[in-house]
C-alpha cells in the first residue's frame, strides 16, 4: 500500500493535464478576484443605518405641508390640519337633482342649484365643497350617497385669529403663502429652511395682545381710520409686537378688504412730524458744532423765502437745546440743523440710520421711504421737523432703537434671536450723543409734550409727533387730517424696548379737550402698553437712584427761573445764538 502511494506521488503528471489544471486555477483566481471586488463594492455602497431608517419618512413629506409657526414662547400661531373636502363623480350618480338637494341641506353655504349645474357640466369630477367641518363630514357620510367622496388635504389654521395677522400672513386655498411670514416661507428669505421644523418668531403673544387691545381701544375712542403699534427689543432688533389696524382674520382672508390687509407698520410710509426732531437734535449734537447748553431764538416765526415756519407750542423766547426738544419747537430745530451743517449733515445722518433706503424684514410688505431729491434750505427745515420725508413706522423704530442702544444700529427681525451676543451691531452715532438724546427724551415725558406717556414704576423717555396728512390725490396736505404718534423707550436709564404708536386721522374728544395731537392721543396708549408689557417682559421697575440722576442733570443743564429772566434781557439786546 505504502509502495503504491509513493509510486503515485512520484509519478510524473501528464503535461496536458497539468496545463489544464493550471488554467483552471488561473480562471478560478480571476473569478475569485472579480467576486471579491463586487462584494467589496457592494459593502462600500451600503448606506449608513440612519439614512436607511430616514429614507421612507423623507419620501413621505408632503410638498403642500407647512411648518407650524410659534411665538417666542412656543405658543401656536399657525398650523396645518388635515381637513376633508367633498367631491362628486357625476357618472356614478343616478339622481343628480336629489343628490344636490341632499348635499345642500347638510353643507353650510352650498346651494342646490349651482351645485346641480356643476354636476351636469359633463365632467367626471366636480368639487362640492372645500374644507368641510368634522360635523359636515359625518353628515355627508350618513347620507351614504353613491359617487360622492372625500379628499383629504392640509389646511392652514390660525388659532389666534387676527391677533398677529399682518406678521403671520395668510395662504391661498392650495396652502401657498401670500402674505407675511407665510409668503417668506415659500418665496422669500425663509424658503430654504427645513419645512419640517417649527418656525419660532420673535413675537411675544402676550405683548402682541396688550398692544392690540390698547390700539383697538384708541382707534374706537379717537375714531381713527388706521393705526400701527410696534414694540422692539433695542439690543437684538427682535420685534415683540407689530400691530396694524384695521386687521383681518387670516382664517377668512377672503372677507378682508384691501385696507385691512394693508400692513401700516412696514408697508406704508408716513410723514411722522415732530418724531423726527429726535434725529435732528442728534444731528446737531453729533456734528460737534452744537452743545446741549446752546440756545436758539424762537421768539418769532422763521422765514425762508416765501415760507414761514411757526411753533405749535410757541414759547416766544430763546430756548436751549433740551427746551427745543421738550417743547417741540420747529423754529429752534430748524435753526439747530442749519448751524450743524444743514441739508448735507442731515442727509448723511439719516443715511447712517438707514432712513433713506428700503428697510429689511422677513415679510414681503416693505415700502421704500420717500425722500427729497434736493435739499435746499426750506426742505432741510421741513425735514428737521418731519415733513417732506416719509418713512415706514418700522424704519423709524429701527432708527430710534439705534439712538437708544449706545449708537449701534441693529436690524429688525421677526425671528427669535437665541444668542443676543451674535447679533451684528454697527456703530453709527457717538455714545455721548445718544446719552444726551436719551436724557432729553426723559425730559419730554417728565415735563414736556409727552407727559401723558409716563408710567408708574418705569422711567420712560419719548417724543410726540403730529403731522398733517399728505393728500396724494390733490397734492399738498389735507385739512383736518393728521398722523398722531408717540415713540417711547423704557426703562430710559438702561433702554430695553422701543415702543411706537401711530394713529391715522384721530379725532379729539372731551377727554382730550378736542386736541388730537400725538401727546394727547398716542402718548396715553404708549403709557398703557408699557405698563402692561413691562412686567410681562420681566423689566424691573426703575430705581429711585436712576430718577435722581436724571433730576440732577435737569438742575444742571436747564435754566432756572432766574436764568429765564436773564435770557429775556439777553434776547431783548439781540445777543446770544
Amino acid at each position: 500500500m505504502k509502495a503504491a502511494i509513493e509510486h503515485l506521488a512520484n509519478r510524473q503528471l501528464d503535461p496536458s493535464l497539468s496545463r489544464a489544471r493550471g488554467r483552471l486555477r488561473f480562471v478560478g483566481c480571476v473569478f475569485a478576484v472579480a467576486f471579491a471586488s463586487i462584494a467589496i463594492r457592494l459593502v462600500d455602497m451600503l448606506p449608513e443605518e440612519p439614512v436607511l431608517r430616514e429614507a421612507p419618512v423623507q419620501a413621505a413629506v408632503n410638498p403642500r405641508a407647512r411648518p407650524p409657526i410659534l411665538d417666542r414662547n412656543g405658543t401656536l400661531l399657525a398650523t396645518d390640519l388635515k381637513v376633508a373636502s367633498v367631491y362628486a363623480d357625476p357618472s356614478l350618480i343616478r339622481d343628480l337633482e336629489g343628490t344636490a338637494r341632499k348635499l345642500s341641506q347638510v353643507l353650510v353655504g352650498v346651494e342646490a342649484e349651482p351645485l346641480l349645474r356643476r354636476l351636469r357640466a359633463g365632467k367626471r369630477f366636480a368639487w362640492v365643497k372645500h374644507q368641510i367641518t368634522p360635523r359636515e363630514e359625518e353628515a355627508v357620510l350618513r347620507l351614504g350617497l353613491p359617487g360622492v367622496a372625500f379628499q383629504f388635504a392640509e389646511h392652514r389654521v390660525y388659532p389666534k385669529e387676527a391677533t398677529a395677522s399682518h406678521v403671520v400672513g395668510f395662504v391661498d386655498i392650495d396652502n401657498r403663502g401670500l402674505g407675511g411670514i407665510e409668503y417668506a416661507l415659500d418665496s422669500g428669505s425663509l424658503a430654504d429652511r427645513d419645512r419640517t421644523e417649527p418656525l419660532r418668531l420673535s413675537l411675544d403673544l402676550r405683548v402682541q395682545h396688550a398692544v392690540l387691545d390698547e390700539m383697538r381701544g384708541a382707534m374706537d375712542r379717537f375714531q381713527a381710520v388706521g393705526g400701527c403699534g410696534i414694540v422692539m427689543d433695542v439690543r437684538t432688533g427682535e420685534l415683540l409686537s407689530m400691530v396694524s389696524l384695521p386687521d383681518f382674520d387670516p382664517n377668512h382672508v377672503d372677507k378682508a378688504g384691501s385696507e385691512q390687509r394693508k400692513n401700516r407698520c412696514s408697508g406704508q410710509t408716513y410723514e411722522l412730524g415732530s418724531l423726527f426732531k429726535i434725529f435732528s437734535t442728534a444731528v446737531a449734537l453729533d456734528s460737534g458744532r452744537i452743545k446741549i447748553s446752546d440756545r436758539f431764538d424762537a421768539t418769532r416765526p422763521l422765514r425762508i423765502g416765501r415760507h414761514t415756519i411757526r411753533d405749535d407750542h410757541a414759547k416766544k423766547r430763546w430756548l436751549s437745546v433740551p427746551e427745543i426738544f421738550m417743547y417741540s419747537s420747529n423754529i429752534g430745530t430748524a435753526k439747530m440743523v442749519f448751524d450743524a451743517g444743514g441739508g448735507e449733515a442731515m442727509k448723511d445722518f439719516l443715511g447712517r440710520l438707514g432712513l433713506l433706503e428700503r428697510g429689511s424684514l422677513e415679510v414681503p410688505e416693505l415700502a421704500s421711504p420717500q425722500v427729497p431729491s434736493r435739499w435746499p434750505e426750506v426742505t432741510t427745515a421741513t425735514v428737521s421737523f418731519g415733513h417732506g420725508i416719509a418713512v415706514t413706522p418700522l424704519q423709524f423704530v429701527e432708527a430710534m432703537a439705534t439712538l437708544s442702544n449706545d449708537g449701534a444700529r441693529v436690524r429688525p427681525t421677526l425671528l427669535r434671536v437665541d444668542d443676543p451676543a451674535a447679533v451684528p451691531r454697527t456703530p453709527v452715532v457717538r455714545p455721548e450723543v445718544v446719552d444726551d438724546v436719551r436724557w432729553m427724551m426723559w425730559l419730554t415725558v417728565a415735563e414736556g409734550t409727552g407727559s401723558r406717556a409716563g408710567v408708574d414704576g418705569y422711567l420712560v423717555g419719548g417724543k410726540t409727533g403730529s403731522a398733517d396728512k399728505v393728500d396724494y390725490e390733490r397734492g399738498g396736505y389735507r385739512k383736518n387730517a393728521i398722523i398722531a404718534s408717540f415713540a417711547g423707550v423704557f426703562p430710559i436709564e438702561d433702554p430695553r424696548y422701543a415702543v411706537l404708536v401711530m394713529l391715522d386721522e384721530p379725532r379729539g374728544d372731551k377727554g382730550t379737550y378736542g386736541f388730537r395731537y400725538g401727546g394727547w392721543t398716542a402718548a396715553p396708549v404708549v403709557s398703557s402698553i408699557i405698563g402692561r408689557a413691562g412686567p410681562l417682559l420681566g423689566v424691573q421697575p426703575s430705581t429711585r437712584e436712576a430718577g435722581e440722576i436724571m433730576e440732577a442733570r435737569r438742575a444742571r443743564v436747564l435754566p432756572s427761573a432766574g436764568d429765564k429772566q436773564r435770557e429775556k434781557a439777553v434776547a431783548a439786546n439781540g445777543a446770544g445764538r
Partner: protein, 115 residues
Amino acid sequence: MSARYSIAALALAVAAAGTVYQLKYWVREREGSLWRLRGAVQEEVWRIRTLEADLAFLTRPERLALQAPQLGMVPVTPKALARLEDIPRVDEIPVAGIGGVTPVNAVPVPRPARR
C-alpha cells in the same frame, strides 16, 4: 469525494434559497407592518395637531381676559415685581411694639381655630 462535495454544495444552495425565500416574506411582512405603523403615527400626529390647535384657540388672550374676573386674575403691574435682594430678611423685619429693628426668631404661628 467530489460527489459528496457536490451534494453538500447543492444542499447548501437549497437551504440558502429557502432561507432567502423566508427572509423575503418576513421582510415584506415587516415592511407592511412598518407602513401600517407609520400611517397610525401620522394619524396620531394629525390628532395631536388638532388638539394643539384647539388648545391654542381656547387660550386666546382675549378669551382669557373675559374669564379673568371669574378666575380672580388681575393684570401684573410694575409694582408687583421685586428683586430678591429687595425683600428684607426675617431678622431685619421690625417688630411692632418693640421699636426699631429687632432680630427675631420668626416661626410661622398657626392661625387660631375658628369657634
